[in-house]
Symmetry: none
Subunit: 227 residues, 2 copies
Amino acid sequence: MNKRGRSILVVDDDRSILSLLTAELRAEGYETLEATDGDKALALLAEQPDLILTDLAMPVMDGFELIARVRRQQKIPIVVLSVRGSESDKIRALDLGADDYVVKPPSIPELLARLRAQLRRTAPPGELRFPDLTIDLQCRKVVQGGRELKLTPTEFALLELFATHAGKPLFFEQIIQNVWQGASATSKDTVRVHVASLRRKLEPDPSNPRYLVSEPWIGYRFIAEPL
Amino acid sequence: MNKRGRSILVVDDDRSILSLLTAELRAEGYETLEATDGDKALALLAEQPDLILTDLAMPVMDGFELIARVRRQQKIPIVVLSVRGSESDKIRALDLGADDYVVKPPSIPELLARLRAQLRRTAPPGELRFPDLTIDLQCRKVVQGGRELKLTPTEFALLELFATHAGKPLFFEQIIQNVWQGASATSKDTVRVHVASLRRKLEPDPSNPRYLVSEPWIGYRFIAEPL
DNA sequence: GTTCGGCGTAAAGAAGTCCGGAACAAGCCC
DNA sequence: GGGCTTGTTCCGGACTTCTTTACGCCGAAC
């Protein structure tokens, strides 16, 4: 569950509801921003939240206007959470630019699922980040110290597997299973050779591996702190 | 009224509901595709609908598996319309990749508003702009350095696919799927030849591609900063 | 000290890919 | 029909990648 760093702007004039919602969201691992009316919410857009969860009834600037104003600038996902369950309210909010509409009181698990669905589509490009190394899974690009590494498909698959299991040792069996789809012909030797060529491109000193250390009798381990 | 040409794939095993839904959608100006199970729905993906509206309970392949299969390839919006209103069903569908979940029987106006909300965010830009290159999808015109390029239908489809996925590598499989609707006869060679002829028209130096670089063992990648 | 097995590197052969050109089929317009 | 355009298949040369093999190194066990 990759929610790391995703922040949600919660807007509601009822402070008890506000704190209840933010508590739930924080428990799920999200960062939260809070606003009690549309004006304050607009100001908090500068913090670049990843999603807006807003009520409709609010003083100063109501939810409808907030949606319209936000949409004039950005395409950030907006989810409405309101006691008003009438068809006309839903249609108006959705047509103004809201992406989903949930009626209060919500089922928290369902609300969370709907938020996940909205966040998913703006998910940042599948990217694994380590100190001095970023791996873009979508673009199949690996950047180290500002320079892009040119990897063969096998090398990239290897690095992707290692990076997604950073810190944990990987058995030869697992490696062959994942990178070669368990082609029975593949041997440990083949893995070793590809690891070697990956090290030549990845390691500052290939003979003293820093990232890709061998785990005798087991396989290999990728050492790096995520983020 | 920008619903022109937007098509919706409706999936439901109950033919009376199916025809009722498609009637409503057509009345709104959408084009519709119909399927009575997940298998047939998958086959109709070749028609490139803009949205999928699907039931969950179906023979042959149920809605959950349909969602999972579609998501493995595409990010087309998926709206679930089901009698099953339980929290667990909603969460499962949403987490599998659905974008919205509406319980049967739906309020038609609300359903339409939710479909609009989903379609809005995938609205085709109509025009793709890159430095020294603009592609007008509506008029099917490509302008480079003030001169208009004359492309064949296949070449245009290729360029459109590449430009909408700028920066990301495209596998031969994806290319064939999108440009040739997965016609099984099409081979990599065919793709290569058309890429070559597209390069001859697009690239300043066709033997040293700047936009359309080949990604060995993968396919091709279109390199250009959007805007 | 010797033996043994895993580990790392280098080299070579096998296999696959990319590209351009040429040839062929199908459709269109004059 | 003849000419043109478009789309597809095939071939050879150049190149890259993958796998295997061989050899040396090192540590552990005896």
